[in-house]
Amino acid sequence: MSRRALWPLVVSFALTVAGWAERTEASGATAHERTLPNGLKVLVKEDRRAPTVVHLIAYRAGSVDEVNGRTGVAHALEHMMFKGTRTVPSGEFSRRVAAMGGRENAFTTRDYTGYFQQIPSARLSEVMALEADRMTNLVLSAEAFATEREVVIEERRLRTEDRARSRVYEQLMALALTASPYRQPVIGWMSDLQSMTVADLEDWYRTWYAPGNATLVVVGDVSAPEVFALAERHYGTIAPRGLPARKPQDEPPQNGIRSAVVKAPAETAYLLMAYRVPQLARIDGAIEPFALEMLSEVLAGDENGRFTRELVRRQRVADSAGAGYGLTGRGPGLFTLSGVPAAGRSVAELQQALREQIARVAAEGVDERELERIRIGYVASRVYQRDSLMSQAMELAGLEMAGFSHADADRLLERVRAVTSDDVKAVAARYFGDDALTVVTLDPQPLSGARQAPRGFSGRH
C-alpha cells in the first residue's frame, strides 16, 4: 500500500473535525439534487455524524424489464459486474474497496438494480472512479460467466428451490399476473439460467447501463458541492446514450379467482393470498393507495394489528398472519395476506378468518385510535431511520426508481397520515372481491420419501 495514498485521508479528517460542531444540529437534512449533462441524476444527503459514506448507484433495470426466455438476466449481470473491466481485472473492484476499509454489495429487485459501497468518506472519489468505470467498460467473458452461472444457480437453489414458502411466493406471482413481467422471479427461472449466454448479458448491459438510466445516491460525511464536482469528474465524461422505448405490458383485468397448491417438504401448511389493487400513480392523486397502505398497517402493522389481536390471540386460528402492500413499484399492485394455521386448524379456516377481517373493515371502518397509533409509529420511524446511512440511501433510490422524486418522501408520509376511517373502509369494500383474488397454499410433505419436481410448476398461464 502506498503511503502517499494516506495523505488525502488525513487532510480530509481535519476538515471534517472542523465541520462537526455547527452541523450537529443539521438533522434530517433534505437531499440535494443535480442532473449531469449526460443524464445521470445525482442525489446527495449530508449526514456528518461519522466519517463514513454510502455510495449507491441504481439502474432503472430490474426483472420487470426482462423478456421471456431471458428471465434472471438483470440479476446475472449484477453478478458479472464484479468480473472486471478493460483496466480493472476480475475481482479487483472488490479488492480495492476492501483495501479502503469498505464493505460493498449489490442487489436486484423487480424494479431496479443497485450497487453500493460503505466506505470511509475520504475514499469517495476512488469508489466513484471504479463504479463509473464499470458503467461502460465491463468485460463479459464466456469463461467467467460459465462459472458465475453455477453460482447463480446455487443461489436459486438456496433462496427458492429448497424453501417451501419461497416457492409458494414464486407460484403466487406467476399465477396472479399474466402479461406483466412482474410475474417472473427476480432470480429467473431455472431453465432460463441454464440457457443464458454472454450475449444475453451483453445485450442487457448495452441497453440499460447508461447514465440517463441511473441515479447516483451519496449519503454521509460529505458536502453536496464536493460530491457534485466529483460526480462530474468521474461520471460526467460518460457519453449519453438513448434508451429503448419501454413497453407498458399492462396486466389485463382479472375476472375470477385463481388458486394453486404447492407441495414441498415442510411441517406446517402456509397460505398466501393476493388481491389486485391500484398502486400509487401520483403523489397528489387519489387517496386510495394511501388508504390501502393504512389498511395493511391496521391489519398487521404491529403487535396489536387486527390479525395478531383477533386471529393469533383471540381466535387461535393462526400462529402468525401478515398483510403486505407495495405502495410504489413499476408493476401492477398486489395486496397480500399470509398466514400459518395454528395446530389443529386448516388453511380453509384461516383463509375464512382473514377474509372476515377485511369484511369487518369494509362494513365498520376502523377506530380513530387505531389510526392514531399507526400515525405515531410512522413519525417515530422517520426519526429512527436517520440513524442508518444505508436506509436513508435506499429510501432515496427506491423513490426515484419507482418513478417518484426523493423529495416526495415527506409528502407521501403526510398523505398516509391524512387517511381517514372512511377511506380505509372504502378500499376494503372495493378491492377485496373474489374475482381479483389469487390463493396459493403449501401442502406440506414429509421429509422422507419427498420427491420434488426438479423444474416447472403447474399453474403457469
Binding site: M1, L6, A50, T147, V151, I153, P265, R313, E372
Partner: protein, 448 residues
C-alpha cells in the same frame, strides 16, 4: 463549541487509524467517551451521549441465558424473555403493546446461550421517553406470566420448532452443536418436548433468580444528558428481583476428535458445516484470529475460501468462516451450501484451504490487505447509534475493558504473520474437524 461524545470518539479513532497504517505514532487525543457507573441496585451502566438525532437506544443484558436452563426445560430462557411483554402489573399484553405503540417506541429482546436481553428505541421527546421507560421498568420488574398466554405461546413455539426441524439449515446447525459440545449448554437446543414441559412456576422462578440488577448491564446511547441516563438506569433496575448469585459455568467436556455426521434430506443442496471449538471472549489470541480469519473466510468477496470455492469453481453462492467468542469457547465455523453431488468436492476444497492456511498462515500481502480493511473500515463498525449500542453491550456484558474500541485498531495493526500462524496452530487442528453434511450425496455414505 459543543462536541458530542461520539464526535470526540471519532477524533480519537483518527489517531488510531493513522497509527494503524504505520505512519507517525500520535498520542491519544481523547479519553474514550464511554461513561460507566453502577446503579444503586447494582447494575453496571455504559453510556455514550449522541445528540444528533432526538432518540435514545438502550439495551439491558442479563446473565439469564440458555446456559442456566435444565436439560428437560430447554427453551425456558427464551420463553421468559418473550413473556415479559405478555402481562405486567395490571396490564395485559394488548394494553402493553398499545402503550408502547402510543409512545412511538420499539421494543426488542431475546435470549442466547450466555445472556438474555431487552432493548428499547425511543424518541427523547416528553412524555414519550418517560412513558416508554416506565413501561419497560414495569415489564422487567413485575411480569405476570399469565397461564393461558403461556399455553398459547408454547403451542406457537412448538409449531415453529417442528417447522424449523424440517429445514436443512436448522438440522445442520443443531447436529454441529451437538457434536462439538455434547451435553454442554452450547450443544443443546429446545425441542417440542422440552418446551411442552415448561410450567408457569418455571418462569416465575427463572425470572426471580436471574433478572436481577446485579446480573444486568445497561448500555445506552442517545440524546440525553448523563443525569437523565442515570435516572433512567435507576428506574429500570429499581424494582428488579433480588436474584441469586450467578451459577458457575458448566465445564466444557473434552474436545471431540475428528467427527463426521451425514444426514439425508430431500433438498437439492447439501448444507455443510465444518469446525471446531474456538475461543472465549477476552482470549489473548482474539486479534490474531480475527485478522487471520479475514484472510481465510471472513473477508467478504476477497477471502481465500470465497476465491477457491466460489470464484474459481462456482460451487456455492455463499461460503464463509467465523469465530464466535462467548463466555466459554464458542465455535469456529466454516459454512457453505452446494448442490448435493458437489458436496464432497466443496468439502475437499475447504479442507485443503484450511490445512494450508493453518500450516502456512497468510502471505505478507494478505496480511497488509486484511489490516487495511479492518483498520480503514473500523469507522463502519461504529457509525450509527445502533452499531455503537451493540459494541457497548458486548463490552459491558463480557467485561471487556472500556478502552476496547479505542485500542482496537492498534491491536489489529500489531498482529504479525507469526502471531496468526501461531494462534491458528494453537486453536485449530485441521485433522480433528467436526463435519456435518445435511442432504447427503445421493449415492454417498449411509444416513443416520
Amino acid at each position: 463549541m459543543f462536541l458530542s461524545s461520539v464526535h470526540s470518539l471519532w477524533r480519537l479513532l483518527r489517531a488510531g487509524l493513522v497509527l494503524g497504517a504505520g505512519l507517525v505514532a500520535l498520542p491519544a487525543l481523547a479519553v474514550l467517551p464511554i461513561e460507566s457507573w453502577t446503579t444503586a441496585s447494582g447494575a453496571r451502566v455504559l453510556f455514550v451521549r449522541a445528540d444528533a438525532i432526538p432518540m435514545l437506544d438502550l439495551q439491558i443484558d442479563f446473565d439469564a441465558g440458555g446456559r442456566l436452563v435444565a436439560p428437560e426445560r430447554l427453551g425456558l430462557a427464551s420463553m421468559v424473555n418473550a413473556m415479559l411483554a405478555k402481562g405486567a402489573g395490571e396490564l395485559d399484553e394488548a394494553a402493553i403493546a398499545e402503550r408502547f405503540a402510543l409512545t412511538g417506541a420499539g421494543r426488542g429482546g431475546g435470549a442466547g446461550d450466555d445472556s438474555a436481553s431487552v432493548s428499547l428505541r425511543s424518541l427523547t421527546s416528553e412524555p414519550q421517553l418517560s412513558r416508554a421507560v416506565e413501561l419497560l421498568a414495569l415489564l422487567l420488574a413485575k411480569p405476570t406470566f399469565p397461564q393461558p398466554v403461556l399455553e398459547r405461546e408454547k403451542a406457537r413455539v412448538i409449531a415453529s420448532l417442528r417447522e424449523s426441524a424440517t429445514r436443512p439449515e436448522t438440522l445442520v446447525r443443531r447436529n454441529f452443536g451437538a457434536l462439538l459440545y455434547g451435553e454442554h449448554p452450547y450443544g443443546r437446543h429446545a425441542d417440542p418436548e422440552t418446551v411442552a414441559a415448561i410450567g408457569r412456576d418455571d418462569l416465575v422462578r427463572f425470572h426471580a433468580a436471574h433478572y436481577s440488577a446485579r446480573r444486568a448491564v445497561i448500555s445506552m446511547i442517545g440524546a440525553v444528558t448523563r443525569e437523565r441516563a442515570a435516572a433512567i438506569a435507576e428506574e429500570l433496575t429499581r424494582g428488579l428481583p433480588e436474584g441469586t448469585d450467578s451459577p458457575p459455568l458448566a465445564p466444557l467436556p473434552s474436545a471431540p476428535g475428528r467427527a463426521e455426521r451425514r444426514i439425508e434430506h430431500p433438498a437439492s443442496q447439501s448444507h455443510v458445516l465444518v469446525g471446531q471449538r474456538g475461543i472465549a471472549r477476552g482470549d489473548p489470541d482474539f486479534f490474531a484470529l480475527t485478522v487471520g480469519n479475514y484472510v481465510l473466510g471472513g473477508g467478504g468477496f476477497v477471502s481465500r475460501l470465497y476465491g477457491e470455492v466460489r470464484e474459481k469453481r462456482g460451487l456455492v453462492y455463499s461460503v464463509s468462516s467465523y469465530f464466535s467468542p462467548q463466555i466459554q469457547a464458542g465455535p469456529f465455523v466454516i459454512g457453505l451450501q452446494t448442490r448435493k453431488d458437489q458436496a464432497d468436492q466443496a468439502l475437499g476444497v475447504v479442507r485443503e484451504v484450511l490445512e494450508r492456511f493453518v500450516r502456512e498462515g497468510p502471505t505478507t500481502e494478505e496480511l497488509a490487505a486484511a489490516k487495511s480493511n479492518l483498520i480503514g473500515g473500523f469507522a463502519l463498525r461504529i457509525d450509527s447509534n445502533g452499531k455503537i449500542l451493540a459494541q457497548l453491550s458486548a463490552i459491558g456484558f463480557y467485561g471487556l475493558p472500556l478502552d476496547w474500541l479505542e485500542r482496537w485498531t492498534d491491536r489489529v495493526a500489531a498482529v504479525t504473520l507469526e502471531d496468526i500462524r501461531a494462534a491458528f496452530q494453537r486453536h485449530i487442528r485441521p485433522e480433528a474437524m467436526v463435519t456435518v453434511v445435511v442432504g447427503a450425496p445421493p449415492a454417498g455414505a449411509s444416513a443416520r
